[in-house]
Structure formats: C-alpha cells, structure tokens
Symmetry: C2
Subunit: 194 residues, 2 copies
C-alpha cells in the first residue's frame, strides 16, 4: 500500500477507470490517462509496466473487489435476505450514480476481445449466484430464483444502456424501482408517470 506523492494506487485506478468508462478500451489512450491522473507517461509505466492491458486488468479487479464486499457478500451472508437485497439495490444505485455512470464490465463484455473474458464472466456469474441465493432464502424455488436473478442482473445492464441511449438517467431509477416492487422491498419514492 505504498503512496506516491500522496496519491494512492486506488485513487489512480479510479481515474483510469473513468477513462475506460468514457472512451472504451480502444479509445482509452495514454494521453487521456495522463490528463485524468496528472501523471506523465513515464510514471504510468512505472506503476503499470505492462501498460494499458495491466491498467484495465487492475481496474476490473478493483471493481470486482468492491462488488464482492458491498453487494455479493451481503447477499450471501445477511441473515435476513431482505437486508442483502435492499443493500444490493442501494449499492447499485449509488455505484452507477443513479444511471449516469455505466458498467465497465458490461461495456467490455460487448467487445470481442477475449483478454478480460474470464474476469467479466466471473463478475456476472457471482452476481447472479449470490442474488439467486438470497432469493431462495426469501422463499423462491431454486429454478425460479435462478431465472429471476438472471432477469434482474441482465435488467440492470439493460437499464444502464437504455438510460444512456435516451439521455435520461431516470430510466435506470424506474427499472430498479420496478424490480424492488416485484421483490416486496421498500421502493422509496416512486413517481408514477402520468
């Protein structure tokens, strides 16, 4: 956990992640990384000797760890599944800034590049599996839970796509509310449309 001029590796990775999110893997360039981090190319290669590939791999690893701790583990270990499910929706809404931020795992999933396929696949499998477990403890049959978990995980990704396509982050919020209602969770304020 070494520091560098007061900037932690985590902070640098967050800057880099933002570049990948905005421009995609191919569009993320060293000059954009230098602008986002304030570090020169030389410094970036000092941190990440293997360059762009390593940056992306570490960003994905970082994302995975965040979701493990904040979303997936609570889904699996909270005694009351409703607590884990509520934490999932709240964490998801915050992480994606209510639909303004996209999912880097989902974005990279759409490219044919196979370099990060394993990390991406594991992320989504773990999400669905941990969600399915919580749904089963809430009373769902196994087959229903597996299917509903797949629907919710894919539904969240689609909501992010549509929210950005429409330029309306509210689309994302509405989809989350819809899922919460189906799961009998407190949905918060829900402004029914006209």
């Amino acid at each position: 956990m070494t520091e560098s001029g007061g900037r932690s590796r985590t902070a640098i990775l967050q800057n880099i992640a933002e570049v990948f999110r905005q421009y995609g893997y191919e569009g993320a360039s060293l000059s954009r990384f230098t602008a986002a981090t304030g570090l020169g190319k030389g410094s970036l290669y000092n941190f990440f000797p293997e360059g762009k590939k390593q940056m992306a791999a570490e960003v994905l690893e970082h994302i995975q760890q965040w979701f493990d701790a904040e979303i997936f583990s609570p889904l699996e270990t909270e005694e009351d599944p409703k607590v884990g499910l509520t934490a999932m929706f709240e964490g998801t809404e915050q992480y994606f800034r209510s639909g303004q931020k996209i999912c880097l795992m989902g974005l990279l999933a759409l490219s044919v590049d196979t370099a990060f396929a394993v990390q991406i696949r594991n992320y989504f499998l773990r999400w669905q599996e941990s969600l399915s477990q919580a749904l089963q403890r809430q009373g769902c049959s196994k087959s229903n839970a597996v299917d509903l978990a797949e629907e919710i995980v894919s539904g969240i990704q689609g909501a992010l796509v549509l929210a950005h396509a429409r330029g309306e982050a509210d689309v994302f919020k509405r989809r989350l509310v819809s899922f919460k209602v189906r799961l009998d969770l407190p949905a918060g304020h829900y402004d029914e449309r006209q």
Copy 2:
C-alpha cells in the same frame, strides 16, 4: 442504387457494420474496413467522403430502416397486436442471431461521444413507443404499457450484454422466452433448466 463491381452499397455497409460491432467505434480502423470489405482506403473514401463518421452514420441509418420495416411498423399497423408482437420477438431473435450478435445502437449508447446521440435516442424511443402501442391494443392501460415497453426494450439490451459476458447465447433466448410468456405469446420450445 449504383453498383460497384457487383457489390452494392448495402453489402459494403453490412461489412462495415460488422467491424463497428466487433471493435466499437474507436477500435474500428480503416485497415479493418479494408479487410472486411475488400476495398482499399481510396475506394472507401470514394464511397464515404467524410470517412469514418459518415460510415457509422449510414450504418445506423441502415439499421434504423431495417427495424422500422421489420419490427416497428408491424407493431404499429398489424390489426392483431399479437401478430406484431410475435413478429418483434422473431425478428429480434433472428437479427441478433439468437444473442451472438450485439446491438450497435446499444454499444454506441454506452460511449460518451455525442455524435450519434440523436439517431440512437430515436431508435430506442421508436421501439418503446411502437411496442407500447401494441401492448395498449392488447388491453394494457397506457401507463402499464409504457412501463412494460420500457422494461422489454431495456431487457433485450441487457440480455445481449449478459449473453456476451457469460459467453452463453442461451441467456438471450431465455430472456426472450420469459417476455413472451408474460405477454401470452407462443413461446416455442422452452427447455426449463433442471
């Protein structure tokens, strides 16, 4: 509708579209276009004087026209809404090759570039609006139809993301079947998972 050595502009646009789908906008390079079309750079600039931007714009226009004719119009004009809805799911499954092909509109929606925002937004608005009309003629209230249409349109996008993330095209097929069942449409063969 001029030809060029037997290759129509439509055929060339399809080759170009495939490159955009596989590599994204930033990753789609002139050399990849030449490989995919068999045309040299000079020829490509003869067809598309404004270069890559024009290629993408025409590809999106082409996609819009296909969906207008095959999906959106039937949803709006078929007397029996079930016919239009069934055609939508069949057309969608075929177009995306049962989940193996991604949605270029959805992919570009995730980039921050605003160049194609209008085309992308109109595509998704028209899809939701035409679907909502069919659902209303099937008996849905207006607010339910609007919400369900949003859920289905975003659900299809999410199904494509998850299918590619998991490397299992079956994910896409399962999500479509799930929607068809909810709409009381013939779902075809449905292999319930264990």
